[in-house]
Amino acid sequence: MATIIPELATFVKSMQLLKCQPILNHPGDCTNYVSQVLHAGGYPYRGWNPWDIWHWFHYNYWYVSETWYNTPKINQYFSLYPNEFEYRGWPTQLNKGDIFLFDFPTRDNIPDHAAVIVGNGGGLRDQHTVPRKRVPWDAFVPQGTAYWSVHVKW
């Protein structure tokens, strides 16, 4: 089940979200923001167990899965559903509404941050914490940062 032009829907919602305060504000809001964009684009909640990496939901502020707001956990979640999320080689291979995760130096091979692509060809990104709107995808990013580039197929 897919929405009509899901990438566009995600993109538009991303713009809307950045115009106002975050609806929900968890510590390390970047992944919460990415999850909201994903859900606004039509990707449905899954499951009920907050600590299960196969589940992803935000029924209310207190009943939320770790995969919703925790960057390493959402990466694990994406990797468990390759029919819905496709890992690509570099953020420039992503499209609007796709997601990428950062592993900053000093590296530990675990993602530290998440953002949404809002321009085709990986051109621009939107993010929370710190809030950025339509900046070049690699702006202000330290040298040596690694990425997981996730194309949303759903």
């Binding site: 390390g28 990466n75 694990q76 994406f78 990797s79 390759p82 029919n83 496709e86 890992y87 690509r88 080689g89 570099w90 420039t92 950062f102 592993d103 900053f104 130096p105 000093t106 590296r107 530990d108 091979n109 675990i110 530290d112 941050h113 914490t129 710190v130 690699d138 702006a139 202000f140 990013v141 330290p142 040298q143 040596g144 940062t145 690694a146 990425y147 997981w148 580039s149």
Partner: protein, 224 residues
Amino acid sequence: MGKHRLALLVGLAILIAIGGVVLLGGLGNNSSTGEVIAGGVPDTEEAQEIQATILQAYKLYDIAGRTFDASQFPSVFVNDPDVPLTRDQRERLQEWFGAVPENAGYLTYVIACYTDFTRGAKLFEEAMANARAKGRDYLTPDEWRRIVELHGGRPPAPRLQPSMTVEDAQEMQKTLMRYDLIDVEDDKARVIFDDGATLNKATLVRRGGKWYIAGVERLAVTGP
């Protein structure tokens, strides 16, 4: 009464002005050797060497991420028994290699980190090469599951492929760096710096007249 109040106000203003001058002087000269500092960073040759060492580390991270070549790490990082790994770093070593080597220090950690990264990135590249040989530019779900399984259940990050050269990226990194503190005591330095995305506490040691990074602990993600 009015004159007394005026005199009191004038006196207070003078005292505040003197206090301000003393305070500013204190902020500007805060070391026993009288070196001028800005925000806790001494304006000395050794502070510049320390900054250059930290900047060089980012260059080596970049090179290793692009080429899988971590052979230059010993020119910047070192194991020092007085600078133990953090609990998180020990846990990562355990996760990557099933054990924490005896006497493991920061050099061991960064080499292990890039060894693990290289292992995952190569799995990704090999799988992509096989897919391309079959006329695809993407991995099937089964191919992806296989490389995740081979990488210990963790999604591998691919090789770094920035369009910017290493040298240009280093110039950019210079503009992102902010040093909050460089505190040198004999052959050891404590440094707090922000690299544009993370705030870090580093310990450097001087060996043979050269500074090496003996430990880095992340304090916070601040950006990018």
